[in-house]
């Protein structure tokens, strides 16, 4: 992809962090508390986006013009494909995320579909390659790229997208693991053949299969891991999401007991996590709470997903250990 003139990667470390613990209880994660997983340092960005390749009408669009076109605003849960990697055994190489590489923000942007329609794609296009100014490149199958919820986003939580999160313009692909939501978006290339860049074929693969949508998953916000609480009735709650379908139900198991349904709150949107909650009666001593989400496509969190060499898609049942001590 040399012709696109991507900036050479710099020597500095890319920005990587999990969600700030204080943000777990927010439906919408403040931008400065949202998880970050970049592959290269923040690049210098141009103020234009090129749309080229196998299409009739190549375009160069300024970011201001994108802002003028922006018509869609969606709360979207993004999760890094490596979330939960640190809990896999054998431990895979790669960033050792615990459970915090997931967050939810409100993204505003132009549907990618609208730009592709304007550009008049050729019939033989199979993938749309998104190129970041940092040299990160990922292609999205054309069917996924035409989902009207896929955005070329220019705002995050109602403000310009901060540099850490890929501003001025980035792709946001709801339902897919974060690698599809290319930051510092520099060019979109319509491809008549599948792309074989390193982030497509060397990374973000489950051994032989590509990593795509977010597997059904959940987390427990309260009690927090290692919490020490007074015994008695406890509100327990957390979040659940799936890239494949809405959440159908969340079941919880207290002290390794039977799975009982939790209550689901009203969804804040079809592409965002949903809050679940329940009540337990906890006596003195050490306790465990587990949560397991089911989606409407029939997927359920496994006790432990099949191992894969690079440690993607760990959606094993959520577990916390906490203690109740007499006040």
């Amino acid at each position: 992809m040399d012709e696109i003139g991507v900036a050479a990667p710099q020597i500095e470390t890319p920005e990587i962090r999990e969600i700030a613990p204080a943000a777990w209880s927010n439906e919408i994660t403040p931008a400065d508390m949202h998880f970050v997983r970049s592959h290269f340092p923040i690049p210098a960005t141009a103020d234009t986006l090129e749309v080229r390749g196998a299409l009739a009408t190549p375009m160069r669009i300024g970011c201001d013009e994108l802002r003028g076109l922006a018509t869609r605003t969606l709360p979207v849960t993004l999760e890094c494909a490596g979330n939960g990697r640190a809990r896999m055994a054998p431990l895979p190489p790669g960033e050792p995320f615990k459970r915090g590489a997931v967050s939810t923000a409100v993204w505003t942007g132009v549907p990618l579909r609208l730009l592709l329609e304007r550009a008049a794609l050729r019939d033989d296009v199979v993938e749309i390659l998104a190129v970041g100014a940092d040299s990160f490149e990922r292609a999205l199958p054309i069917a996924a790229a035409l989902d009207p919820d896929v955005l070329v986003a220019v705002e995050m939580n109602g403000a310009p997208i901060p540099p850490s999160h890929g501003g001025p313009a980035r792709l946001v692909v709801p339902g897919w693991y974060g690698m599809a939501s290319v930051k510092w978006l520099h060019a979109l290339l319509a491809l008549p053949r599948p792309f074989a860049g390193r982030f497509q074929t060397d990374f973000y693969v489950y051994d032989d299969e590509p990593v795509t949508t977010m597997r059904v998953n959940s987390l427990i916000v309260a009690p927090s891991e290692d919490a020490v609480l007074a015994p008695g009735r406890l509100d327990v709650w957390g979040w659940a999401w799936s890239g494949d379908a809405p959440i159908d139900c969340v079941a919880v198991s207290f002290d390794a007991g039977p799975w009982r349904p939790a209550q689901l709150a009203r969804a804040i949107g079809p592409r965002a996590w949903i809050r679940w909650e329940g009540l337990i009666d906890a006596g003195r001593g050490r306790h465990t709470l587990r949560a397991r989400a089911h989606d409407r496509a029939g997927h359920v969190q496994p006790e432990a997903p099949p191992h894969n060499r690079l440690g993607y898609g760990n959606n094993g049942v959520a577990t916390v250990v906490f203690a109740c001590v007499a006040p």
Copy 2:
């Protein structure tokens, strides 16, 4: 075992706690920081020990007399069979120990063998049943009971054994998981047939096999989980132990890299954990460190041991996640 006149279990919760985090760095764990796993509350204890059953010379020995006989002092690492249970998937029922149900103390006592020799065991004895004043009962195969390191202990770390740890007298069975080291020792019964009490047949079994000696295991003391450190050269260290044989070597893997041998300190005794240490060079970012012990009997810690219904013997490779941040 009604005839022994065991105290009825009380309604209160038994005392259960992991090692105090501040004690991880002590070779010998102070008594008040040593892990505790009792099955019943602290009972009223008599000041005598009965030795009875299939033997020629039944005895009743006062604790003072035991103190007079005490000839052996040993540092012993004790680990609860349920240590690490909270990290197993599916999560088994039972006390959800993380990694802290292991400690090392110096125990002084009379070799059990000496008492059994005085009592003149019959040739058909297959097990020695130890009965605690709390009603806990566990039998030890005769071959294990005759190991000269098995003690009827009367001192812990050079002082009378505190009630939480089973004083005035308890069994200490080096090399075996803690359930064998019966607290508040009340009676020893020589049995011509295998014992089938609940802590022998319902609990402390790996599905079909009895839980016996401590599987080779290790832990990482430094860095601690979630530590935030300055980048650079870091001393890393921890403990390793096995109930079956001395530790042969400990290997460490930094950031999921190759296994490299750590250095072993001089052992403090053949029945106690041994310190291992190494140096790593850690740049900015999030890191993982793993440790894997091998014993001289050829056992090695697995990535994850085979699952068992009640969650015993989790000796999976030790892992910590930590971060280095520029000062």
